[in-house]
Symmetry: C2
Subunit: 382 residues, 2 copies
């Protein structure tokens, strides 16, 4: 148990993954709420929507037609934030000193993929048994493998991979990139513009800020202690138990000590896994199980379609052997709901200007999420 | 002009204030939007609401009664995130090494104030002429002055202040604190739970992350170049003009080179000002003018009550003389709207997991905001 006093006093907690602090105010959920409420999301969607650009057989914005896929399907976003082809940015030669100090920019190339989880328009990961989530994990793994730079030590691992999805079934890039960020925005509250279950994978020629910070911290820790930061953290959490929501043989789900979002969780492999391609077939299924547990518990918590953004951090596509070895695969879930299906935690004024702030402790969140096991609430209704 | 090419290609820009990068994808606003839309906020509120806990003469949650104030009124939030009195957090003696490395916490004391801008329930800063915003700035200044640690070199400056609001009219803390974060959450989309015009000021015994990072960067820059980072930046922006939205003799409003939010602006004093107490009476009025310009242009942009979070960064309440001298007063505005009164930019999956991403360039935003001068749209309607 942490010093019990942290349930009652305002305090800061340190996030060793990003080297930053956040403010925890455990007593603060008592305040009344007259602000914005989200509409309770009890939408009844059809299994197939002829207007959806993700349903099998439909046409997309740029005119391409989706195949009649049966499990997952990946394509390049018609409105990508980054592109494979664009002119190079050359820094203006006329720039004086101040300009090169204070108006710095660099060009970014890349590809933005969309990947559907299912041909069915009206399901979510929470509705899908682990075996139906597995094809998505296989597809992520293939996509990641297809993008590995030939000089990456993980390329050799990828070459040995036995996956039920061939290289050709997943997109192949024209170029080498530095990083692949796989993420899902679930629910309108998290900016998702289409309820058809899907995630995105953005590859970029530059290392994005967040995984970049984490890799630096992981490198520092390993250099200082000779062990992996997250391996040590898992060891500690498994011993303490109080932030462990769920586990199977290969993965553990914790509300991390440094969680910002009310019911934030971290999915961690129990052994050192650098990236998706390091996972065995059995571990991929166990990861599917972990994702199913998290998303089902989330929906059960407030009996609603629980919004979140999730994302995978893993080894870069290209990097020094040292950097690849330091990387420790993990998956973050950041859900905004705080008190009910309709009341969000807003990360606004103080959080944006000063420091992230949360209103319940991660230990309290863990207790709530542990209690949400059992069947998906909506299956019990029907 | 920046290399014109940045209007067309995806690129990253560097924020020297926080030492971080963001992704800019100028072509990305073309994508269709089927996601969440905000309700167009054409609420008609009464000038006085008997149920509002901020209106003059009303009772608050904890039972206190508001005075019949005529301009501004400050009080301690009944549901504060931090408190003046709480037990100290002493690190668990039994903790082994891993625990003290990976489960770090520290107690935080402080006070959370609420400060109303006007007795009228139904106005916003955009509706108020600069002379009516001035009392708020005077109140901020007094509040900040009341909290300065006696050892802060700014205490002597504060002692000489001639303000139309006395020490006793603003709250006085029981203790010394490290930092005061003044911020406003405007609009339900930014988590504001009461439309009565108000801001908050949270003082804490610890330095929050964001201003802490900025102060480190300001210190580094000054050490390396012998000048203030923001002084150099203003010089550059005034010369280039393309990101300048508006200016008066003392302040300039820019869409910063490194803006994350679609119509983010930075309000900067043209001379080195460390904190509110450094401003002359005339500069305080000019700051009121700048705030009025920003908020009116925001409302004019999409003809709506434009949501935002704003906040002031300035010298800490307590700090080394060096740190106080390095501080450069400024005010950030972070507004979420992107395309219309109802379509927000969501900073979600990629932004949370990887790196902030924006869809229009700051130069494009500047052009839009420049065109929004003139009378407040809703005054023209009536
Ligand atoms: O204090 P308020 O206005 O009730 O609350 C609002 O601002 C706070 C400070 O940014 C946030 O922590 C809350 O999530 C938000 O709803
Ligand atoms: O690509 P989508 O799903 O249309 O867009 C969503 O996710 C993106 C990546 O996190 C964000 O940049 C957008 O603001 C959000 O609405």
């Amino acid at each position: 148990m942490p010093a019990k006093i942290l349930d009652d006093i305002s305090h800061r907690r340190y996030n060793p993954l990003t080297d930053s602090w956040l403010l925890v105010s455990p007593h603060r959920t008592k305040r009344p709420w007259q602000g914005q409420q989200e509409g309770a999301a009890v939408t009844t969607l059809p299994e197939y929507d002829p207007k959806c650009y993700l349903c099998p057989g439909n046409s997309r914005a740029a005119g391409d037609k989706n195949p009649n896929y049966e499990q997952t399907f990946a394509f390049v976003n018609d409105y990508s934030a980054v592109k494979e082809q664009q002119p190079d940015y050359e820094v203006d030669q006329s720039s004086d000193d101040l300009e090169s100090l204070l108006l710095r920019a660099q060009g970014v190339k890349g590809v933005c993929y969309v990947l559907t989880f299912s041909p069915k328009h009206n399901v979510t990961l929470a509705d899908m048994p682990a075996k139906d989530i597995l094809p998505t994990i296989n597809h992520w793994t293939r996509l990641y493998a297809n993008h590995l730079s030939p000089s990456n030590p993980l390329s050799a691992v990828a070459a040995q991979l036995q996956l039920p999805i061939s290289m050709e079934e997943a997109p192949v890039p024209k170029d080498n990139y530095r990083y692949m960020q796989i993420f899902e925005n679930k629910g309108a509250a998290m900016g998702c513009s289409n309820p058809h279950p899907h995630c995105q994978a953005w590859t970029t020629s530059t290392m994005p800020e967040e995984p970049g910070k984490e890799l630096v911290q992981m490198a520092k820790y390993r250099q200082q202690h000779g062990r992996h930061l997250l391996a040590d953290y898992i060891k500690l959490e498994l011993a303490k138990e109080e932030r462990v929501v769920w586990q199977n043989d290969s993965f553990v789900v914790v509300c991390p000590w440094w969680a910002i979002w009310p019911f934030e969780v971290l999915v961690l492999p129990k052994r050192h896994v650098r990236a998706l391609v390091d996972l065995t077939a059995d571990e991929r299924l166990q990861l599917a199980e972990a994702i199913q547990e998290v998303t089902r518990r989330y929906d059960n918590l407030f009996e609603c379609h629980f919004p979140y953004s999730s994302g995978i951090h893993q080894a870069p596509l290209d990097g020094t052997p040292e950097e690849i070895e330091n990387a420790y695969f993990h998956m973050h879930f950041y859900p905004p709901l705080l008190r009910s299906a309709t009341v969000k935690k807003f990360l606004v004024g103080f959080e944006l200007m000063a420091e992230p702030q949360r209103d319940i402790t991660p230990e309290q969140a863990t207790i709530r999420l542990r209690a949400c096991d059992g069947e998906l609430y909506r299956n019990k209704l029907s």
